[in-house]
Amino acid sequence: MSVLANTVHDRTLQRPDTILGADELVINMGPQHPSTHGVLRVKLKLDGERVIGSECVIGYLHRGVEKIAENRSYQQFAPYVDRMDYVSAVSNGLGYCEAVEKLLMVEAPLRARVIRTILTELQRIASHLLWLGTHALDIGALTPLFYCMREREEILKIFEKYCGARLTTHAFRIGGLQYEAYDTLEKDVERFCNSFEARIQEYSDLLTSNSIWIGRTRNVGLLDAADCIALGASGPVLRASGVKWDLRKATPYAAYDQYKFEIPVGSNGDTYDRYMVRLEEMRQSRLICLQAIENIPVGPIMARVGKVLKPPPGEVYHAIEAPKGILGYYIVSDGGTQPYRVRIRPPSFINLQALDKMIRGHLVTDVVAIIGTLDIVLGEVDR
């Protein structure tokens, strides 16, 4: 083991072709840095300002979520997943609840699933909004952040009205929902969706055809489809490379099979395409919400599950399309009240792996843009 520990990542330390023959500069980006979106630390090896190698140092936020899961009952663990990708807690909860439901072999009632779909799509919009604002800020555009926050606030207000919490919502329960939709949920969502169309156009006007924006994002952080798949990158990163794959369509869960929406794809696999894909995803999520509120079926919101959950021994893997990519839960049960093993497949963690490939040959400035475009949340990377 000690031998292995000494073999450092040699790939990052290869002797580069330096231009001036000057010393390479090793710069530590993070863990305290304004644009590493948390406590990510990237060791950059620079030639001038050009990146010739990098290594991610992560784990500063490691809390041992998977270990905690083994020592909590199934219901007790549910709030913990909200703390992984804390900007899309609802999606995390959806994935977990559905995975446990699969393990129990029950299914949430349709009404619950529709409400779950609405809230999850709102969460996707909120997550993408936060991404857009901070990404634009990283590239130096100050203003979109505030517009995005304004929109996100609307969504968080809906969450607050629904379950009392804004960030780590714990909105869903295993087997369905605990809370019935509040009276004006449909109206609130509709109002938000109606205003959102124009708002998203506003951001688009600010950035999409701005030549500085294009200059900063076109051909930056290129990742072609084959690389994406090999590196396991998923979500908007994968779709921007031209792979039309979205779990909401491929293996529909919740109530996604009832709604019409498109999967936006890019062609180039660069930062600009990822921007366009996410922008379009927000529009599609809005459409899903509008379709869903039109007809929320009546009925129970909770399937019959016992107070004490004892799934039959066995295992299940369930993945959903979280805002950041594929969020998978692999749960092993030994028939007891606590999961024997919960493995979480975190999209941010695996997408972050592509960083090294994406930043090589770019300038330090682009590193910031590329970290931004990956849309990572360190709570989820480190778990």
Binding site: Y253, R304, Y317, A319, Y330
Partner: protein, 215 residues
């Protein structure tokens, strides 16, 4: 819900008309189709949880690898192949190249301390063109080493580092196996079952953080 592996529905085919996934995939035999009223699990006869897997796929694998495929089961409609760990790399390569499982969605381990072979390596494979999933499981003894999958799927790099970090399983041929989430000098592997939830490397904490306990 549980029919994902049975209804190969290529994302390519479902894209352009935007008609969505043509009116829900109700796949006849699914136990709880969306339209049906939720079945009270207590009343209905409990569906079999694990059955032997006997599909085209498993037959092809058995044909190709014979004894290396130790078992093929289906757990909650999800196909699982239990394979010999020495053949894992070969099987992985075959899965990617021939069976089109181009995406290694996840790679992890489970600790069964009472078993003879202590660890299970679990790989979740997904085929984007075929829209199917397959789970490979391989049992591994406490002091055995496994072959690294990173030559087949580069994404295995960090995943294997995490397994090494959490379980102490060593992968042969990994480009740079070291801890990823915990500090390099940390003692112990937290996701092993004999590692208590309150346990921590107090020496490390004291030395590096200057506090008595991190809890």
């Amino acid at each position: 819900m549980a029919d994902e592996s049975k209804a190969p529905q290529s994302p390519e085919s479902s894209k352009p008309a935007a008609s969505g996934p043509s009116p829900a995939p109700p796949a006849a035999g699914a136990p709880a189709s969306p339209a049906a009223k939720p079945v009270a699990p207590a009343a209905a006869p409990p569906p079999p949880v694990q059955v032997a897997l006997d599909s085209e796929l498993s037959r092809r694998y058995r044909e190709r690898f014979g004894a290396a495929i130790l078992d093929a089961i289906e757990d909650r409609k999800q196909p699982i192949l239990v394979v010999d760990v020495t053949q894992l790399l070969e099987i992985a390569r075959y899965s990617r190249d021939t069976e089109q499982f181009d995406l290694l969605e996840d790679f992890t381990a489970v600790d069964w301390p009472r078993r003879e072979k202590r660890f299970d390596l679990v790989a979740q494979l997904y085929s984007i063109p075929l829209n199917t999933r397959l789970r490979l499981k391989a049992a591994l003894g406490a002091h055995e080493e496994a072959d690294s999958l990173s030559s087949v799927w580069p994404t295995a790099d960090w995943l294997e580092r995490e397994i090494f970090d959490m379980f102490g399983i060593v992968f042969r041929g990994h480009p740079g196996l070291k801890r990823i989430l915990l500090p390099d000098e940390w003692q112990g592997h937290p996701l092993r079952k004999d590692y208590d939830i309150l346990q921590q490397d107090t020496a490390w904490v004291r030395e590096n953080l200057g506090i008595e306990s991190g809890q």
